[in-house]
Amino acid sequence: MLSRRHDHHRERPAGLARVLLCVLLLPSTFAWAGTRGNIAGLVTDLATGKPLAGVTVTATSPALQGEQTEFTDSGGHYLITELPPGEYTIRFYYANLRVERPGVILYVDQTLQVNAGLPSQRASTQTYRILEKAPSVDVAHTQIQTQITSDLTRLSPFGRNLDSVLSLAPGAARDPIGVSFGGATGAENNFLIDGINATGLSTGLQSSNFSLEFIQQTEIITGGFNAEYGRSTGGVVNAITKAGSNQFHGGTWFFYSPFSLQSAYIGRTSESLLARRRQLSAFDFGFDLGGPIVKDRVWFYAGFHPQFQTDLLERIVRVRTADNVDRDPGRPQDPYLGDTVATPPCPPWIRSTNPALCPPGDGGDTTSSSYVLRDLPQYTRSTRLQRHNYQYIGKLNIQLTPDHQIVLQYLGTNTSNEQAGPTSGDTFGLLRTTLALTHDAKAQLLSKFLDRRLQLDLSFGFHGDHSDPSRLVNPTGNQSAVIDARTTSLAAYDDIPECAIRAVGQSGRTFNPCPVTNYRYGGIGANALIDQQRFTVALGLSYYFRAAGPHGLKFGFDVEDNRLRNYRFFTGQGNYTIQASGRVRYQQYATRGPDGRPVLLPQGFDATTTTTNESFYLRDSWNVGPIRGLTINAGIRWDLQQIHDIYGKTQISLIDNLTPRVGLVYDFSRKGHSKLFASYGRIYESVPLDINDRQFSNEGIVLQTEPRAGRYCPRVSVGQALDVSQCNFPDPTFLNGGTFGVVSPVLRGQYVNNFDAGVQYDVGWDTIVSASYQYRSIGRIVEDLSPDGGNNYIIANPGDTADPRVVRRLQDEIRNIEAQIAQTADPQVQQELRLRHDNRVATLARYQATSGFPAPTRNYHALILTVNKRLARNFTVLASYTFSRTYGNYPGTYNYFTGQLDPNISSDYDLRDLLGNRRGPLPNDRPHNIKVTGAYTIPFRSSGLTLGLNFSAYSGVPIQVLGAHPIYGTSESYILPSGSGGRTPFVTNFDLRVAYVRQFSGGVRLDLTAEIFNLFNQRAPITVDNNYTFDLISPIAHGRISDLRQLTNANTGAPIRINTNYGQPTAYQPPLSLRLGIRLSF
């Protein structure tokens, strides 16, 4: 609808609005990426329908310095680029006529279609306003993206930092290390701060977790990636920070969380120790301020946001009872294990899958019994754990001319976080504080040349992350750690008379009332001081031209210099592990000396390694002239990676990561209100620096085990602690590692293929609904694997077969080296040649042997339905339902069951024997995923009441039936095919926000808020114990639950001991908590 403004006292001709709204064509709609968006359109003559050339089009917004002006070309098209996200008014000037379209809300990475028809025959000066809903569908992109605005995060209940909104994307769900997108693990995402890569360098996790108070908009891209995006096999998160404007805006706030309900205890069934942790209180405050330094020229934005949290950690002690010892048929010389319960607890989600998965009843079966336990409340101990987090931001937007702008910004966080020791261990003696600092800085130049047809975007970025977990609260933490892998007694460590091992019953059987397994004491143990730095230079060049329709051609490249320093050490120089046999194993860092023998590193191992990343991309966004409404995005991206060792020498060079990106968009409404889209793309992983640090640093671990000449530790029985000062391990002879990993001569990059198709439609009421299908599959992975049962490893692409040409090339190379050795007399040259020769021989042998490994698979199918109502008429909603399945044999770069996070060198493919039964639903397989987030404000004159709701519901995750692998140990053997254990329960959660809003004069606004998280205190388990047994056992190919009868230990042949904790929760939903807040903004 179009309305005339009151400065012209003429009635608008009947039907004019309708005529004006008769949008004619879909002209230039270009897709860009990064931190800004575009507005394009076609201006026509209402009377003739012909394009109008020379119409002046301006875009103004509080988010924009000055205004941006363009002229329509001979085809009537205009395009205004590099607009910061915000609400715009688009004005069209032609002769004396002025038409304006307010309320155009532009998000980052969007291209909106704003067309206009002008009554050019009217000579008198008039201004018309288009009242019809502004176009809101991005008709240029095929990206599946979720835009989370500050409007939404301010009105709905969320946490205080960026990580709390990431799971709002359709299909996304939290996993133990982050948020999973598209079936990937939480370690496969790319995090951008204002377009600059801020992903953790070492393992690919989220590194910078900034305050939502500083973030204007978070863009989460989960599919349909444009060529500008890469280095992620999960999702891309692009956080756009706030900026200043011509008006002073800012605010100050204070939020306080006075309590949360009690959390559940977590601990192993039948063992003595349990722990629970809950948030005791939290508060944060801060301010932000933005405004002009020089109006329309220089804007600033600054903020400071400290956050404080106190958790309460409690540890309780339980004892087994021995009331029935004389009724037990056991032999007098056997220890009494405790009174058993008739029916061991079996979680309902296990029982409902198949009762045969439940641990069997006691019946004298001591291998799987569950025991009667009694609490000893007098020994419950607790401590408070503090977390402090200071965040700060400073930003300058400088407009040199309307065509040349500079952005300078810096964000930082400073965190200290107290951590306790393990539950089964010296929980309170091993307290420590981790200090972490992150820095993100950017300098950006945006320029337009050649009558704005050529645009330049040049950015310099820096991301730094420093982590020091070694600040000890107690000096005891600096000693050597001792881990007793046996089931021992708490009496050895805590002065609890009730735990003393004693004789019970008439026959005086030995009884341990307080069994604990894997108890850890002494010192902290493994520790690391980590510095990560990334310098980025990125250049984008855009050029616009016409050829069978408008084209927007973009070329860009970026270079990243990534650096990781990892200083790892054991407190007390080494770790002691008391093994099941009672023998002690000593673990210490070492490297390999020139003679090949271990060189001990009592102070730890320090390595700095680097990786250089480059990417080039070229993309054309073409509005196909003959087919109105059709846009084709075709591009190609080339990623390169050089992985360097500690000497700076390239060990892995990935140079052929060439990926096509194709997308089609068709606006069938031809008004910018709809789109049908489909896209295909291949996205390569950026291999994190963990592989440099672990494989190309000469890191080595010495394991010394008794008995051996000169090696000695006093024997400790159950109920005793080891005095490590009496131990002596002087003579290591065997080194694990200490040399560089061998790399396949034809190693290629890891990637996923992504296909999306869907429809999006603006149904009115500022609401867009969409339906789409997404298929993503992993194509190739990079992993270390051993073709000979763990003797030798090679970093390769499992599933690939050895190429005979490569074999011949290596054989030729070996022969050449042999010839050179024969010809040279210089011993040093000979030595170097021999080393090279040995490396090539090993590479050839291992490369030939990689063929037997099965190809990795990870297939993700998703049907996604979304509703997005942007904030208007006091109401906003973001809702989605995703039905998806994720299955295959490769979960990703994180192992959910062992907790190993060594991207690309995990244990997953180490042995082919490890892959048995791994095909099936993957750990992130959550078929149903529902989310509703929204807010509604009930206005009362100058005040209002806002109700915000955040609802989520997820299917549980597959439960496995795991055992210990004969070589790789606990949780590595899939006894039954993946997913045979059923699924954890459905998880639902409601968060509620109630706010009283009062508007004062001068634009000052007061918000008083009360937020309840987990409104109904739902306590579903998030993760459960997947270990059916800790005994060594090989997978049962095609096994069924009925096959779990009569399993035997692979080593001893004895019946396996079933883990009585199998299926029991290891983490629950956080309990109900309350947060109160006050915010004053202007």
């Binding site: 023998r597 295909y680 073709p787 000979d788 003797n791 082919r912 048995g916 993946s978 190919a1037 095609h1038």
Partner: protein
């Protein structure tokens, strides 16, 4: 069944049917998807493997180890032809003959002249691994073992002598692949665990009750009767190899597990090397009876008898080790009083007298043991032998096997 493999570089295809299928599966409770389908069809024997925990040997009577990887340490073997000679796995280099499946018929082709040698150890178990799980209905005994009639082991003498043992069913393992059949046995399998060691150099016959062995898949069928009998011959008693430390020239090994077995070079070009104060440990192909240890002799380079004593390897100072057959023999020089002494530098020869030692004492066959010798040298290689070194002469900090 082999794991189906797709090209790692395939481009995605839109499979609405797949999604619909998955959705319907989810309607039934969102059960597992993507698992390998359970194989169907006639039950087949894929492997008959002899597992020897002590020695790490695992010859497959059917020579059907398709997935065993190879490397610079384990060279790839070419596909075998019927009756072809192969080197045994992993390191002793002894020549063995095998029966290999006849590809056209799928039956076993037997070569009566060249039959497989396997080790006559009590630690050896025989695993008959199938491509599918077996229907155990009516086959299980109350104690969880299988009816012994399903698997019988006898000598090929007339009349045949049955070998007692336990027959059980092991569900674990994959029929497709094992990088080390000792650590990851092929499965599912019928396992025969002999109650006593097999005799050296003796021919045996395995007989399976084929009509009763059926797959558990719907309509599962029995294995062909032609696969019901298999023969093999055990090795004679001889020195198999000796314990060697990789760093023997520099300072010894960290513990016993770091020693590895090395095959004595038949040409004597690279003899075992020990320090004067170190014992030498030899491994035999079968357990040597304690009462026959005096048949192990040591001669010097001139052929003179060197006073020496052979004892079973014992590695635990806290254990009281009863005399028992042992495969690893620990040889030390002794002085005139019979106490452990040290070696004089020089060349030596270990001799195992034929016809008088080993398990042959039980079965009375002199053919079980052949004369055997191993050369070794003693040099002052500077090894410091400390307390706790299992190979230090006189310390005897050893453990029961």
């Amino acid at each position: 069944m082999r794991i189906s493999r797709s090209s790692p570089h395939e481009y995605p295809t839109l499979t609405l049917g797949v999604l619909l299928h998955l959705f319907l599966l989810c309607g039934a409770g969102c059960g597992p998807v993507g698992q390998d389908p359970e194989p169907t069809g006639p039950l087949r024997i894929l492997h008959i493997v002899f597992l020897d925990q002590k020695r790490g040997l695992n010859p497959d009577l059917l020579n059907n180890q398709p997935g065993r990887a190879c490397s610079s340490i384990e060279p790839c073997l070419p596909p075998l032809q019927c009756g072809q000679l192969v080197f045994n796995y992993p390191s002793n280099g002894s020549l063995l003959t095998v029966d290999v499946p006849d590809p056209p018929t799928g039956d076993i082709c037997h070569d009566p002249e060249n039959i497989l040698e396997v080790e006559p150890s009590v630690d050896s178990v025989i695993r008959v691994a199938f491509d599918q799980h077996i229907d155990l209905t009516g086959l299980e005994l109350p104690d969880g073992n299988l009816d012994p009639a399903l698997f019988t082991l006898t000598t090929t003498t007339d009349p045949p002598i049955p070998i007692p043992g336990v027959v059980r069913y092991d569900r674990s393992g994959s029929p497709d692949f094992s990088s080390d059949p000792n650590a990851f046995p092929y499965g599912p399998a019928i396992v025969f665990d002999p109650a006593e060691p097999l005799a050296p150099a003796t021919e045996y016959r395995i007989t399976l009750d084929t009509p009763r062995l059926r797959s558990r898949s719907v309509g599962g069928s029995a294995i062909p009767a032609s696969q019901g009998t298999h023969r093999f011959t055990t090795e004679p008693l001889r020195v198999l190899d000796y314990l060697r430390c990789p760093a023997a020239n520099g300072g010894g090994c960290a513990n016993v597990s770091e020693f590895y077995f090395a095959f004595p070079d038949p040409e004597g070009l690279d003899p075992p090397e020990v320090a004067p104060n170190q014992a030498l440990a030899f491994q035999f192909t079968a357990d040597v009876l304690p009462e026959t240890l005096d048949r192990v002799r040591v001669e010097d380079a001139d052929g003179n008898l060197v006073p020496a004593r052979a004892t079973p390897l014992i590695l635990d100072p806290d254990s009281e080790c009863p005399p028992a057959p042992a495969r690893i023999i620990y040889v030390v020089p002794v002085d005139a009083s019979g106490q452990p002494s040290t070696w004089n530098p020089g060349s030596y020869r270990l001799l195992v007298a034929g016809g008088a030692s080993g398990a042959q004492a039980r079965d009375g066959g002199a053919r079980a043991v052949g004369d055997h010798r191993v050369d070794f040298t003693v040099t002052d290689i500077g090894t410091e032998v400390d307390e706790g070194d299992p190979f230090a002469i006189g310390v005897n900090v050893l453990v029961c096997p």
